[in-house]
Symmetry: C2
Subunit: 592 residues, 2 copies
Amino acid sequence: MKRTSYAGLVDEKLVDQDVVLKGWVQKRRDLGGLIFIDLRDREGILQLVFSQEFSKAAWQVADTLRNEYVIEVKGTVKHRSEGEINPKMKTGQVEVEIHEAKLLAAAKNPPFYIEDNINVSDELRLKYRYLDLRRPEMQKNLKIRNLITRAVHTYFDNHDFYDIETPDLTASTPEGARDYLVPSRVYPGHFYALPQSPQIFKQLLMGAGFDRYYQIARCFRDEDLRGDRQPEFTQIDMETSFLSAEEIQDLTEGLLKQVMHDAMGIDIKTPIQRIEWQESMDRFGTDKPDIRFDMELKDISDVVKDIDFKVFQNAIANGGFVKAICVPGGAAKYSRKDLDAKTDYIERFGAKGMAWIKVTEDGFTGPVGKFLKVKQDEISAAVGAKPGDLILFAADSFKIISDTLGYLRNSIAKEMGMIDESKFAFIWVVNWPLFEYDEGIKRWTAAHHPFTMPNEEDVHYLNDGEDPHKAHAQSYDIVLNGYELGGGSIRIHTREVQEKMLKALGFTKEHAESSFGFLMHALDMGFPPHGGLAIGLDRFAMLLAKRDNIRDIIAFPKNSKATEPLTNAPATVSDKQLLELGLFVNKVDEDK
Amino acid sequence: MKRTSYAGLVDEKLVDQDVVLKGWVQKRRDLGGLIFIDLRDREGILQLVFSQEFSKAAWQVADTLRNEYVIEVKGTVKHRSEGEINPKMKTGQVEVEIHEAKLLAAAKNPPFYIEDNINVSDELRLKYRYLDLRRPEMQKNLKIRNLITRAVHTYFDNHDFYDIETPDLTASTPEGARDYLVPSRVYPGHFYALPQSPQIFKQLLMGAGFDRYYQIARCFRDEDLRGDRQPEFTQIDMETSFLSAEEIQDLTEGLLKQVMHDAMGIDIKTPIQRIEWQESMDRFGTDKPDIRFDMELKDISDVVKDIDFKVFQNAIANGGFVKAICVPGGAAKYSRKDLDAKTDYIERFGAKGMAWIKVTEDGFTGPVGKFLKVKQDEISAAVGAKPGDLILFAADSFKIISDTLGYLRNSIAKEMGMIDESKFAFIWVVNWPLFEYDEGIKRWTAAHHPFTMPNEEDVHYLNDGEDPHKAHAQSYDIVLNGYELGGGSIRIHTREVQEKMLKALGFTKEHAESSFGFLMHALDMGFPPHGGLAIGLDRFAMLLAKRDNIRDIIAFPKNSKATEPLTNAPATVSDKQLLELGLFVNKVDEDK
């Protein structure tokens, strides 16, 4: 029998028509004589009715069914009687009287119910991923992801981009994260690396004259995992020749418009707001601002510089600042204990404390109220405070203030319910510093990557004797709801600038040659000015599906130990395999 | 300046209009005062004219240009004068008088000319792949590949398929080719495997209820390389639930129609011819028949069984056959020496010799003519021979005859010019044997893979005491111009049949459990009947682009030693990296 409709799409238009349906038994109820089966497929759930009156044979099949059995049925769509209508179900107006039924596959009792909001460990969900994926919310998540990639293909196809594949077995890239390696059998002792991104290849494609490239590209990073990280992840990757940073941002906005329309039915307004990195840091304390709410950082250094309050004066004397955020209505919401907890938390950013005051009709109150009262009107005016508000202060270096108030702004907005969760708020952050100081490895690294083009007027900072760390870059990040969705830049397209850049990053001439020699030789061969962008598909899907774990929008993700509980990968391999690769295993962790 | 058009797309419609163009200097000619530049971009080549009269500054720029320099220019499109029209160029009716010019990047002299049909080693082409890819034929090849993937997305999007990604870091699959391994850092001594195909995952997605899945999937096999093999390759992968083999073939035909239309502008007729595996072997000597020409194999065992010719009689007495092909007009084309060379060649198939005769007005001639003359009319009638034809005979086992005549049919058709190279001839080969005997490892293996469903009436052959090798499968290959383009099958969807299948393949219960346990547990949980297909994208692109090497339709392929001459991957890695992975390198091949 050929299916005539998805069960979840049967509606009143089909009343009195015969349908053939195939799917899973979601639930079976036997009401003496009548058997009701909820049939589930990709599109939803539909009520089937079996009666000996309709068909004895079909009723007998129904009598044997259990949850998750797979069946095919033929029947007639009927209106439900008045009292039986279920307005919560998409198909709740109808049911199907079954005349023929066939069992296609039986099923054992599943280890968890196939329904939303189950309370089951992630490990069990991953081990039985094929069951977990049957749940409507997981079906919806992967549908959204599919709609995103569909929109991506549509958009790039309509804008003259070529979809070009780049290699997965390739060379290691220094200056990135840790690579996954793949031993070579032809050349024992040699290894391929899985790509962390197609960055160099897409630049070479511009050198090859393809003009506009895109790819939905798998990338790999052997890093310790967090909630939104996976060993393999996917990016929407693009590169163009001869365009300015602004033109690439325009193109990207068209893409975002298409995705939001096709995947979510939402028409976003363009152009999307573009702010400079410095402004983003000043106003939001972060380079990925969540602009669904205000509560911006205010620099009150000038207002408070003469107040007799050591904490503030010291900060300013040390070249720092005093900044504040005003929490509307926060005075009642936050107790002293709550605020002490926040003060403890922000120690991780290097903050030495947190001054706060509550604004009352009678002025500032709170532990430091007495110091600040003298300027309370000016402070209130500067931060826009009114009675009932809470003001939080940070007095420190620019970085510590930004980290502290940036964090407080986000966490308090969440706690105060200030965020409209239905909103999708995009913003560009442009003109980044070219370098950033990595506290972990105690040296300057590329803020984006070593191929990022400085602003034209900043190129001279890369010359000998100048301070390269003053340079800003033709780079841009696209931010959604406080998450970095993607980023890109204009790239360096001449050997001369590329060599200076690598030198500024601390590469010796030899190391630069051995690491990036082939790229620099390529740059000698007539490279067009070019630039591009990459968007994290996983994170994009996570945000659109409104999930807070990236695993929920990946069909078969790894767990936090980078293993796949379903297949039990990674696993030990045979001695023969190791021998072929010329490898010895030093130690095997038997406890895996 | 913003580009107004691709250079290669400028035509008479733009005459007298100003254009801004960006691209590469293909050629520069200085005709005293006038400088002509052929400007190249993705879409083609266009003639620019520089004169001090139009712009002295632009002329001075042009005076410095060399091949492969990158420039941007502004100028006015003009008709070429009568004598200057170049009908061979798409843009040959026009030229552009340049008013502004800017050098964007200089270039060193390239190691080979950027033009088609260069005579350069593959190694050099791969080392300078970004230059090789600038050549018009390579641009065209990757454009065709892009049009194919574009059509694939369009088609599956329009047919309710979900694009779902499956993992690249996963478990090793026994019973396949050699895996590429990826050492785990979290669990030293353990390895992921890169997937040879998403086979098991796409089946699990059917078990998860997604109903229709597709993916353009990267796959990996660590095998010795041939002309049309690469360590990493790409397949158009699909799977559906609840459909019959025929319905899946119908869906696939829609896909092929879309691709041929969108990528080649060709409307192919459907349904595509479907023949059984046995018929394909009988008529063409191969399971991937090239049906662009006839010259089919004819079984003449009955006709010749009584002739007094030992070679034929022995073959028949040993349970074999005598079969022949008739080469129209082949008598004059092939000398005895030519035919001796063919006889030598077919020894590799186990053939002990090759009988042949030429048909003249006076009957059969040739070394064995005297034996066959007695039945010459009957033989001629059976193979459709007329004077001037050549008949080739094979007398042996079915397999040796098929290999021999299958090879001769293809090679002679090519030599005789019988193949219409403009044709794209698709054919389905269906109903394959479930198992095939692997002469290399001396045992029966799965003809497709261990998840292939036998024909319903053949399932009993998997029972104890029966001969499983008699079973045929619900499998199907799609063949294009004599190449296997893709293949698929209905899959086993119950544990019971899957266990029998693995047993027939020689798996012990323990080995089956350790290798495919997670799949068999999944099959216990209510799996829909399902099936699918995979098409080799690389081969498809190669055939549509009419190339004979798969490297020509991959942007960055590996060479025959599986290395990437551009990046020099694979390479040695640091001791620190090995230490983290718990590995020792046994031997390093320093000669790489």
